[in-house]
């Protein structure tokens, strides 16, 4: 058998291959030769063969048949073999395969080898890829080497210990004694690795942290020496002495000084010194400054030092080096909450970064800009941000638009400015705004009563220009439907009123219906808008015609709407004015769904007036939902209100008749949600004590109801609805019924959810579950599930039955996937 070809030879040969196929052929041939050589147990060339295998593995070819050979190389006496063997182990073996455990004994022997370079190989391998089992077995050996006076081995042992601790944190204790005099070493390698080890221990264990706090003076001294000492060629990098060690010490100081006043004070001076004396012309100096800033901001530093740190970041922002600008923006983003005023001073530089070419820098600048917006700078900032919105990449537009809306809502100097700003966003980035912007904007517009004429006029004009951006079109249609009368009346205080006729308006709306650019949702909006205008315009016949045409539309949604509107014209014409009346002012909900959810894990909500308010506030949205459930759609469009705060008594009476034939017992309750100002003394079936009880539960986005609990005659059913605008919130209504012959009194339902969820339990309808299914107790649960994890719930039920108290705990796991996906 001729000697296997040398490694370099093989590499040269493979590189001559002109195609992938040719390369594969060569590799296969060589692998076959290597395999037979392995089978022959050839000691001489094993090393060469494994090296070749490692090369081929790097090219992407399988090399698992070489794993055992690596182990044989490690066990060999020759240093060359060991070197390649350990390298192969690190590249080919992984802790998932039991094979790797065979290394343990070899490593143990090599850790005690007479040659330090062999010991070094073993420490390195263990420190890079040692599995938990290996670490457990060999921790003692590592600990021994951590105490050696040989600095070559000591530094490696320290990093090996770090790995052991990462893999098996319980072993941390055993390394404690060996750390006693680590910092007294002069050798920078040992110093550096010791600081890393101490950092790891302090990060993982509060006890260790307490224990090592006393090292702060020593660390400060070491750092001071590094800065003050003269030129040291061995550790110098561009005029700075051992920047790597400086950075690690600063990081350890950060951990030690955090939430501890004394330690923070002890390091105050050195931090100021580093911050002012470090050379900033090269990256290495800035790396140290960066770490210093991070430390200053994280410990309990005095305000002067903090301002110094932020100013360093401000200077970073002006640096030509984009890497420096990048880290500056990242750090400023972290500190903007706590040191808002200091960061404000650099606002203009930050805003300039919006024009940077680097995507990451732009994004950070944008986030930071939004964080800096306040009542004083809103006008100026918004100008810049709107300009940015105009010109930025599509990936930014959605976030920027949302940010603009949020900022405008918080700090708008005037209603007009607010509406103008919204208009600007809709017209420039209309297709990128999030879906929930549309209902939010509608609510905002509704509530700006004095601006209605101005708003509808501007929106109308915008529509004339461009009907492609759906959110803009939807908001505009809605407004025209609501305020079309103001539009044609030619009254507008804010700007020159335009002259437009009813027919022109209807032309535009009908144009939306037929346009290919309009989505089905938009078409729904415009049809409803047209319908609303039937009570505001005089050209009712035209509207009737349009509505009847769409009664046979292919689009089921449109068809249903049109048919129902037709019904309004034909059978319920006397109700039409009341139904299509102007929308009432909606109470403000929180602009982001999650903020309204309170953590009420496991506790039922006491019937405090506050909680009554909260559900009431979300009414209009839910009412809108209810109606859409009726119509089978799921956009939030308050179209026809079945209950109105100001409805005349007669209309109200007939409304009840309309709903009167629906069953109100058991199952999904179909009680309409009471309007905000309806007095509590209304007939029971309207109220049922459920403030946000959805109207037609069973048609809500088709999430099937489920039986959550059924035991001892008590049955609890869950019905679902998605809360608009936030799809991460599931609204669950529980219906508790009782099949036994005795009432269940003092009934209390409590629920708890896993940590990633948030739960809000609203007040129950009552706490008596009547016997023999004569009624039910209902209660609404709102679950926030931002991570879209599988919904699970633990419920606790307590009640009194036939005189004795009953308590039960149950897990609910059978939630339908639609409720949490």
């Amino acid at each position: 058998m001729p000697a296997p070809i040398r490694l370099r030879e093989l590499i040269r040969t493979i590189r001559t291959a002109r195609t992938q196929a040719e390369e594969r052929e060569m590799i296969q041939k060589e692998c076959a030769a290597i395999r037979s050589s392995f089978r022959e147990e050839d000691n001489t060339y094993r090393c060469r063969n494994v090296a070749k295998l490692l090369y081929m593995h790097m090219l992407g070819y399988p090399a698992h048949f070489g794993q055992l050979e690596c182990l044989k190389l490690i066990a060999s006496q020759k240093f060359t073999d060991k070197r390649i063997g350990y390298l192969g182990a690190m590249l080919l073996l992984d802790e998932r395969q039991d094979v790797h455990l065979l290394m343990t004994n070899c490593i143990k022997n090599d850790l005690n080898h007479s040659t330090q370079y062999v010991q070094g190989l073993a420490l390195c391998t263990l420190g890079c890829m040692g599995s938990s089992e290996m670490c457990r077995d060999l921790a003692g050996e590592v600990e021994k080497l951590l105490k050696t006076s040989n600095s070559y081995l000591r530094k490696k042992a320290a990093l090996c210990a770090v790995h052991v601790i990462r893999k098996v944190p319980e072993l941390m204790e055993m390394f404690l004694p060996a750390t006693k005099n680590l910092l007294s070493e002069k050798n920078h390698g040992v110093l550096h690795t010791s600081v890393v080890l101490l950092t790891e221990m302090c990060e993982r264990s509060p006890d260790m942290l307490l224990h090592f706090r006393k090292l702060v003076p020593q660390l400060v001294r070491i750092l001071k020496n590094l800065i003050m000492s003269g030129y040291s060629p061995e550790h110098d990098v561009s005029g700075i002495s051992d920047p790597f060690l400086q950075v690690r010490i600063l990081r350890l100081l950060r951990i030690l000084g955090r939430s501890d006043d004394d330690s923070s004070e002890a390091m105050n001076d050195i931090l100021a010194q580093v911050a002012t004396n470090t050379e900033t012309s090269k990256n290495v100096g800035n790396a140290i400054l960066y770490e210093t800033v991070l430390t200053i901001m994280d410990i309990k530093s005095e305000s002067g030092l903090r301002v110094l740190a932020i100013n360093i970041l401000g200077r970073f922002l002006l640096n030509n080096d984009k890497n420096i600008r990048y880290v500056a923006l990242t750090s400023l983003l972290k500190t903007v909450q706590t040191d808002h005023n200091a960061v404000q001073r650099h606002r203009s530089t930050i805003v300039d970064c919006l024009k940077d070419l680097d995507v990451s820098i732009k994004r950070r600048a944008m986030e930071l800009s939004f964080a800096l917006v306040n009542g004083n700078n809103i006008r100026g900032m918004m100008k810049e941000l709107l300009y940015f919105l105009d010109s930025c990449d599509p990936e930014f537009k959605a976030d920027c638009a949302s940010g603009v809306f949020l900022a405008a809502e918080k700090y708008a100097p005037s209603k007009r400015w607010h509406i103008d700003t919204i208009m600007r966003v809709l017209t420039t980035a209309g297709s990128y705004v999030r879906d929930d912007s549309v209902p939010n904007l509608i609510q905002l517009i509704t509530n700006s009563v004095e601006m209605h004429a101005y708003t509808v006029q501007r929106l109308y004009k915008a529509l004339l220009d461009d009907i492609s951006q759906q959110p803009l079109v939807q908001v505009s249609s809605w407004c025209i439907g609501e305020y079309g009368d103001l539009l044609v009346s030619g009254q507008c205080e804010e700007e020159e009123p335009i002259q437009v006729t009813e027919d022109e308006v209807l032309d535009v709306l009908e144009g939306l219906l037929v346009s290919n650019l309009s989505t089905p949702v938009t078409r729904g909006y415009s049809l409803t808008a047209i319908m609303k205008l039937s009570t505001r315009f005089s050209s009712v016949n035209r509207i009737k015609k349009v509505v009847s045409i769409y009664g046979s539309s292919i689009d089921v949604e449109l068809q249903q709407r049109a048919v129902e509107y037709n019904a309004l014209f034909k059978k319920y014409d006397h109700m039409r004015p009341a139904l299509l009346e102007r929308m009432p002012i909606m109470e403000k909900t929180a602009s982001n769904g999650p903020t309204e959810i309170m953590q009420t894990n496991g506790e039922t909500e006491p019937s405090v007036p506050d909680t009554k308010h909260l559900p009431l506030v979300t009414q209009p949205a839910n009412q809108a939902n209810d109606l859409l459930d009726l119509l089978g759609g799921n956009d939030v469009m308050p179209v026809i209100q079945t209950t109105l705060p100001t409805k005349p008594a007669s209309a109200g009476g007939e409304l009840l008749d309309l709903l009167g034939d629906l069953s109100l017992t058991g199952g999904p309750t179909v009680v309409p949600a009471p309007a905000p100002s309806v007095p509590v003394s209304q007939p029971p079936f309207l109220l049922d004590g459920l403030s946000s009880q959805p109207l037609f539960n069973d048609t809500s986005a088709a999430i099937p109801p489920m039986t959550a609990y059924s035991k001892n005659g008590l049955k609890i059913e869950f019905t679902f609805e998605r809360a608009n605008p936030n799809p991460n919130i599931a609204v669950i209504t529980i219906h508790a019924t009782n099949t036994t012959e005795a009432d269940m009194t003092e009934f209390v339902f409590q629920a708890a959810v896993p940590k990633t969820f948030q739960l809000q339990l609203l007040s129950p309808s009552s706490n008596i579950v009547p016997a023999l299914n004569q009624g039910s107790v209902t209660q609404v649960i709102r679950v926030l599930n931002p991570q879209k994890q599988q919904l699970r719930m633990r419920v606790k039920l307590t009640y009194t039955h036939k005189g004795s108290p009953v308590q039960d705990l149950a897990e609910v796991n059978n939630f339908p996937p639609q409720s949490w996906q």
Binding site: R8, R83, G189, T193, Y290, S360
Partner: protein
């Protein structure tokens, strides 16, 4: 800590991969492929840092080779650039004006140098001299009849 380091050419050929966490082979391949794509698509005017999955990527191009490190949230990106630079200096001193071909033909040596510089993703020794001396001494221990020459190129 540094999670892994990759060296690859402009054509997307891997020249060195060092992983400091246990990762399945299949996942390694996927991550390498994905990351190479992302980094090679970067324009010269962009910063050396980017976010990828839950990690921070620090990369720098030296001639035809990209040096790419993945570090964690709390790590200092600027000093990572210095770590990369130190590794390149070590290679340069060892091979004498190192170029990509040196790394290709002597990949195992590149690994030996890296393993003398970093363990578990952390620096063992901040002295260039010390690291190079250790390699030199270890090289001397290599048995004579193994035919692995110090520096062999095309």
């Amino acid at each position: 800590m540094m999670r892994f380091m990759l060296l690859f050419s402009r054509q997307g050929k891997l020249r060195l991969q060092k992983w400091y966490t246990a990762t399945a082979e299949r996942d390694k391949k996927k991550m390498v492929r994905e990351l190479m794509q992302v980094v090679l698509a970067r324009k010269p005017k962009m910063s050396s840092f980017l976010e990828w999955r839950d990690l921070k990527i620090v990369y720098k191009r030296y001639a035809s080779l990209y040096f790419c490190c993945a570090v964690e949230e709390q790590d200092n990106e600027l000093i990572t650039l210095e770590v990369i630079h130190r590794f390149v200096e070590l290679l340069d001193k060892y091979f004498g004006s190192v170029c990509e071909l040196d790394i290709i033909f002597n990949f195992e040596k590149a690994y030996f140098i890296l393993d003398e510089f970093l363990i578990g993703g952390e620096i063992q020794d901040t002295s260039k001299k010390s690291v190079l001396k250790a390699i030199e001494q270890a090289d001397l221990l290599q048995e004579v009849h193994t035919h692995t020459h110090h520096r062999e190129k095309k």
